[in-house]
Every structure is written in C-alpha cells, then in structure tokens.
C-alpha cells in the first residue's frame, strides 16, 4: 500500500477537484446557519449613527482575494448604504504593501455601488500610505501630518469630509482586512472598537482580542462573508462559493473517516501481527 501512496495522493486531489466542481455544474443549496459573530458584525455596522465616521484599513494581499474580497465587497457596500441612508462617513486606506493597494484599488474601482453618494463628502479612498504599523500609528495620532493626498492625488485640505478628521478620536469605529498579522491594528487602534474581515486561518490569532472585546465583531473568511451576504440580502460571490466549500468539507470529513478506518482496521492490526 505504501508504494501506492503517491498515486493515492493524486487521486485525492483529483476527487477533490471533481467534488468542488459539482456545485458549480449542478447548483445545490446546502443549509447555512448564521453564526452569532456575523450577526454582531451586521448589528455594529447598522448601529452607526449620522455623522459617525468609519475607517477601514484594506491591507489584504491579492493572493487572499478568494477568502477576503467577498466579505469586503459586501461590507463596503453595506457601509455605503449606511452613508446613503444615515449620513455615515466612510474612509478607506491601505498601509501594508503595494500589493494590498492593487487589491483595494480593484474593489474600489469595480465593486462599490456609490450611486447617490459624493466622493469626498460621503466617502473617500486615501490610497496607499506606506509604513504599515508606523502609518497606522501616524493616522491614529495625527492624520493630516501623515496623509497629504487621497488616492487621486487631491490634497486632503481640499476634501470636505477630511476637514474634521485629525486623529483616532474623530472616528467612531475602525475596521481592517488583513491576510497577515492582525496585531498592528490592535496595538495602534484599540482605543476605539475594531471589527475585521479576516482569513479563516487567522481566526485563532484574533481570539484573545475577541475575548477581551478589543475586536468587537469579525467575519471569518468565505463562510462569514456568505452569512453576511445572506443577512443583508445581497447575494454575492461568497454565496456562490459556499456550497462548494461545504462539499469540500464533507469530502474532507469522509477522507478523515476513511483514513482512520484504514489505519485502525488494517495498518495497526498488521503491525500487531508482525510484533507477535
């Protein structure tokens, strides 16, 4: 059997690809229970009041697009809805890497519904402020000293909604999207409630902050994004991907059971025979 393992390895991959393709060819609606964290996430965004400003650090890398972009698109459109209905203000900024700028720029240009909103009055994109944690600290401490222009190169002194934004105290809440460490945002922005859209792989990382209520709500990868899309009634890419993800999880569980049956039923028993 051990000689066959490389072939089994490839067969596992091949079957995996086959199974995840099924929901795209024959759409199936698998049940999706809504987790309390996603409910809280929506509630926090809904509770923003007139004049509140939310700042979002869009620092994910392009490689994380599949996991974080559906959540970002749904979240930003929901925030823009709050801007339209309640007069909330929305600031988007990138601090991490040039690649994060490509990620944020793609969302900003192609996926946001800004109908009925005025750029610079209701929402603004500040572009890439290099420096990551130093930039985060700078924006929290003295925004006008760090951010000179917006994404289009317009001086922030000429952007109406930026006139009242000087430091962390002027923001009601902050949010971040990250495909790496969540720690810098916690270190520099914990003075105000933080929400996040993060890779499912990094959930363990943010748990100490969630328990201490520094991060007040979060979206966990595609699953969280699909739940959020369902809650806000905007069917997006996460909803389309979640059935395939459920299929993949069923397949993973089946593999775990099969491997354990094989190990305890054959390998272990054979090992005992050899020992005797």
């Amino acid at each position: 059997m051990s000689a066959m393992l490389p072939k089994v390895d490839r067969l596992i991959f091949l079957l995996f690809l086959f199974f995840i393709a099924i929901p795209f060819i024959l759409p199936v609606a698998l049940p999706l229970p809504i987790s309390p964290t996603t409910l809280k996430y929506k509630e926090i965004l809904e509770n923003l009041r007139k004049g509140d400003t939310i700042i979002w650090f869009v620092d994910a890398m392009i490689g994380a697009w599949a996991e974080t972009a559906p959540g970002d698109i749904a979240t930003f459109n929901f925030i823009l809805e709050q801007c339209r209905e309640k007069g909330v203000k929305f600031v988007m900024v990138t601090t991490f890497h040039a690649e994060s700028l490509a990620y944020a720029e793609t969302i900003f240009k192609n996926y946001l519904n800004t109908e009925g909103l005025t750029y610079g009055v209701d929402y603004v994109y500040l572009g890439w402020i290099p420096g990551y944690e130093s930039a985060l600290a700078g924006i929290a401490g003295n925004l006008p000293a760090i951010v000179k222009t917006d994404y289009y190169g317009t001086p922030i002194s000429q952007i109406p909604m930026m006139q009242n934004l000087h430091s962390i105290d002027d923001f009601a809440i902050s949010g971040f999207t990250s495909s790496t460490s969540p720690d810098p945002y916690i270190r520099q922005w914990s003075k105000k409630p933080i929400i996040t859209n993060i890779l499912a792989a990094n959930i363990g990382w943010i748990m100490p902050y969630v328990e201490k209520r520094i991060i007040v709500a979060y979206l966990a990868g595609v699953r969280g994004a699909a739940e959020f899309e369902y809650l806000i009634g905007r069917i997006g890419s996460a909803t389309k991907l979640i059935s395939a993800q459920s299929t993949a999880h069923i397949y993973a569980v089946a593999l775990l059971i099969a491997a354990n049956i094989y190990y305890f039923g054959f390998v272990r028993r054979r090992g005992e025979v050899i020992k005797k």
Binding site: F24, P184, G204, K212, A244
Partner: protein, 228 residues
C-alpha cells in the same frame, strides 16, 4: 476578443499542471506570476515616490520641509553599493527598526499585555474558573514540552504528555482553519474552470492529460513485447 475567463482558466490549469509533474507550462506560469508581481509592485512604488517625494519637493518646491530629510535618509540606503560609504546605509536601517520597535512596543503595552492579564476570559461566566484552569494548565504543560535540558521522565514526563495533547489540539485547530482558507482558493479557481467558457479549456486540458498519461504505458507495453 478572447474572454478573460479563457485566459484565467488557461493560467490556472498551467499552474495546477504541477500536480501531474514539473513541466514547461508550469514554469512559464510561475515566471509570469513573478514578473507581473514585480511589475505591479514597481508601478505602485514609483507612483508613491512621485506622490510623496517628487510632487512636494520638485513640483511644489517645498525643499525646506521634513520630506527632504526623509528623502535623504532614504537615499542613504543605497550607499551600500559604494564601498567607501557602505556604512552610511546602516543609519536608515537603524532609524527604521528603532521607530518600528518603539511604535510596536508602546502600542503593545495596553491591548497585548495589560488587557490580556487583567481579567480572565469569560469573566462572570459559570465556566470561567474551568476556562482559567485550562488556560494555565495548557500554558505550563506546553512550555514543559519544550524543556530539553532535562529528560522527560517522572513529573516532567507526565506534564509533557499533557502538554503534547494541548499542542495537538492547537495545531489541529490551526491546520483545520488553514485548510479551510486554502480550500477557498481552490474553489475560487474552480468557479472559473467549471463554468463555460473556462469549462471548455478544462475539457481540453483533461483530454491532453489523458493522452499524456496513457502514452508511456503504450511505449512500455511495446518494449515489453520486444523483450518477449
């Protein structure tokens, strides 16, 4: 014009072809990715330099500003290419690392150190005592696992065994969530490959794969026949 999905599907399959074996198509896709990555990064870096250095210093002529000092410190990084001046490149590095460290340490004190020690998780909850005991036990026993200066026997051996269980649970959780993330990437790609027009490329790739994998067998069987 070729639909974008066709190009995407072709590139995904070129990358996935590594699952069969290393081949020129995979190498081409890998080189294209690196080239594209460098190109995009360079573009944004130049744009940033233009916005933050060129415009304020050259276009607006604000030479007497902190930007000039930052610009000079930045330039010092490149002195490492001049043998007699290479030592100057240490200064910007020292400034960068010291500022980074001070920003991180001052920020860490509140949320990462004091807040984590102040109240136990789930404070006020009936299970908080059990949770607290579990937290302390997991920390102590997991640390015992990494004690190499003593043989893992007796009390230490028992603690190490418990620590190993906690480590296994932690790694299992990490692996599970990591797997969940990676599955999402494959599914995103599959959403392009399984639906037309990407599905046509997938079908062509499947046919090529079947032909390629069956070819060596034909040759082998002919060789065996010759031997016979």
């Amino acid at each position: 014009m070729i639909p974008v999905e066709i190009i995407e599907a072709t590139l995904i399959l070129m990358t996935w072809s590594l699952l069969y074996k290393d081949n020129p198509l995979y190498k081409l896709a890998a080189s294209m990715t690196i080239g594209l990555y460098l190109g995009v990064t360079l573009n944004y870096a130049i744009d940033s330099l233009n916005k933050n250095i060129y415009v304020p210093l050259i276009v607006q002529g604000k030479w007497l500003s902190p930007t000039t000092i930052v610009f000079i410190i930045g330039l010092l990084l490149y002195t490492r290419f001049i043998k007699s001046l290479w030592w100057l490149s240490r200064w910007p590095l020292a400034i960068l690392s010291s500022i980074g460290l001070s920003v991180a340490v001052t920020g860490a004190l509140g949320p990462q150190i004091i807040a984590q020690l102040s109240t136990p998780p789930l404070a006020g909850h009936p299970l908080s005592i059990i949770n607290g005991i579990l937290g302390v036990t997991a920390t102590v026993t997991s640390m015992c696992y990494f004690v190499y200066s003593r043989e893992h026997k007796g009390v230490l051996g028992a603690l190490v065994k418990i620590g190993r269980i906690f480590l296994m649970i932690a790694f299992g959780f990490m692996l599970g969530t990591f797997l969940m993330s990676n599955i999402a990437f494959a599914i995103q790609n599959m959403s392009i490959l399984a639906v037309p027009p990407g599905a046509y490329i997938s079908a062509i790739a499947a046919i090529i794969l079947i032909i390629v994998t069956s070819l060596p067998r034909v040759k082998k069987s002919k060789g065996e026949e010759m031997k016979k």
